[in-house]
Amino acid sequence: MLLDAQNVSKAFGDFLAVSGADLSIDEGEIIGLIGPNGAGKSTFFNCLAGDATPTSGKITFAGQEVTNASPETHARLGIGRTFQVPATFEDMTVLDNVMVGAFLRHPHRNEAREHARGIVELTGLNPVAHLRARSLGTPGRKRLEIARVLATNPRLMLLDESLAGLTPTELQEAIRLVRRIHEMGITIVIVEHIMEVIMTLTRRVLVFNQGHVIASGKPEDVVRDETVITAYLGHGHQRRRGDP
């Protein structure tokens, strides 16, 4: 098992954002986290990335406890994340952004640059490598965030709505990129609202609602789950899929 989150809760004052969530991930899986806005998936996601400390519960990664570890430690251990609102380094070039990630495993500049160049090539950012991040549009920034995390050589990538806001063509390209990353042996957790992404990419889905995990299983089973339909998907989703 690569990551094991047991009974994770996170409270902000009296408000319980995540309540007793469990998640076990094996190496090589792609897992989706879905649920309505405010359901607690981003908070849970932040707990996994080390950005938030759980109020209770335990998280281990590759056998090591990381419940209270800093984001830096998470990155060093091999957990990389993207942000819902892209947090690229705006005044730095695309290549320099990726180099910041590459420096984690390659302390020397030339090695980091070589590694970053490879990642830029892989993620299709080569034509804009010399541009400042702020000159990219949202799709470019989201791609850059993925590239930057990839440069840290992660074992687990946490993608926070990295495919949201893309045109259909960009979405297909992004799905291909995520597949390629997965084929490289990287385990992936995706928070996403776009069901097409979840249905296409993931083999297992966790559904959050009001801080609780209300369902988990194969995507095709989860979308038929009455609780999930009521809490999140709505009956319109089933009709669009042509289900009875």
Binding site: A49, D51, S70, P71, E72, H74, A75, R76, G80, R81, F83, A87, T88, F89, E90, D91, M92, D96, M99, V100, G101, F103, L104, P107, H108, R109, N110, A112, R148, V149, T152
Partner: protein
């Protein structure tokens, strides 16, 4: 790593201009402006490491400047040591203070960090003003007549000019070396977004403290050079808020977080400041505040990235390429 010839030639031209300036302008007045310019460029470049590259806008850097300024004269006055011996003591004290201040204040971000640095610098200024050992409000004086070269007390401005130029060259080289290393990339990443930098494994607090220590070291040296040259220091000229504000404004005017930004800022501000003081005599010193205020408003409103950013935006593509190279 090799740099394109165009960059080398620019640096050679700049170095030649700075080396020849006091020889071409041999009048004491112009040499004095040259020395003041170099001192301002050193202070602002030192501030630039933490304030510009890491984006941690300290408005209390006078605490390090003042310590550096007081140390040589303090040890001269009480123990008769040559003022130069006080420089390493000033550096060591500034580093200790940087670590002491950095550890708690780097938990604060944005304006809170700036306010905390102002508060500490002001506390030190007020304390020094009442501390008899440091000359209280009157301050301290250096040797009136040099006992030897080691007192660094010269009649003319020329030796000071070249000493200051040497220190500036070292500082710019250190800053350039930082830019090229992982440390420099982490500083810029922290400035752009701490949360994202941490998620990529950048040790944020450690990097900020290292930057503050380096910055404090050179700011302290700048303070020492000032007091050794003028042979006098008091709480206001060492720890006063104007000392800190000048560093911030010079760096911001030229371009905070760029290697030569503080130089450009000093090149504009120092002659301007000298001009207002000359035109209006003693009453011109108050104009410095108005000048600073005006520049802050102009930078904030029109060009937060400073003149380097302006150049980057308006320069023709051909020039931009050679500049960026």
């Amino acid at each position: 790593m090799t740099k394109p010839p165009v960059v080398h030639s620019k640096i050679i031209v700049l170095a030649a201009c700075l080396l020849l300036y006091p020889l071409v302008f041999s009048d004491a007045f112009y040499r004095d402006i040259g020395v003041t310019f170099l001192l301002a460029a050193i202070s602002a470049s030192a501030w630039n490491i933490v304030g510009g590259y890491a984006g941690q806008v300290s408005v209390g850097h006078s605490m390090f400047y003042g310590i550096g300024a007081y140390a040589p004269l303090l040890f001269y006055q009480h123990f008769g040591w040559p003022p130069i011996a006080g420089i390493p003591i000033g550096i060591a004290s500034s580093i200790a203070l940087a670590v002491l201040i950095g550890a708690p204040t780097f938990r604060l971000t944005g304006h809170y960090f700036s306010m905390a640095t102002i508060a500490v610098a002001e506390l030190i200024r007020i304390f020094t003003g009442t501390w008899e050992f440091a000359g209280a409000a009157i301050g301290l004086q250096g040797p009136a007549v040099a006992r030897g070269w080691w007192d660094l007390t010269f009649r003319g401005e020329l030796p000071y000019y070249y000493i200051f130029l040497g220190v500036l060259a070292i500082l710019l080289y250190v800053t350039y070396a930082i830019e090229q290393r992982r440390f420099g990339y982490y500083l810029r990443a922290i400035k752009a977004g701490e949360r994202a930098a941490r998620s990529l494994g950048a040790p944020v607090r450690e990097t900020k403290i290292k930057a503050l220590v380096l910055s404090a070291t050179f700011t302290s040296v700048a303070g020492s050079l000032y007091s050794i040259k003028t042979g006098f220091i008091d709480p206001e000229s060492g720890f006063g808020i104007l000392v800190s504000v000048q560093m911030v404004i010079i760096a911001a005017l030229g371009g905070a977080g760029t290697l030569f930004g503080p130089l450009v800022g000093a090149l504009i501000l120092i002659p301007l400041q000298t001009a207002t003081n000359t035109w209006f005599g003693g009453s011109g010193s108050g104009l410095t505040y108005i000048l600073y205020g005006g520049i802050i408003v102009l930078i904030a409103r029109f060009e937060p990235g400073g003149l380097f950013e302006l150049w980057d935006r308006i320069a023709p593509a051909r020039w931009k390429r050679s500049h960026a190279a």
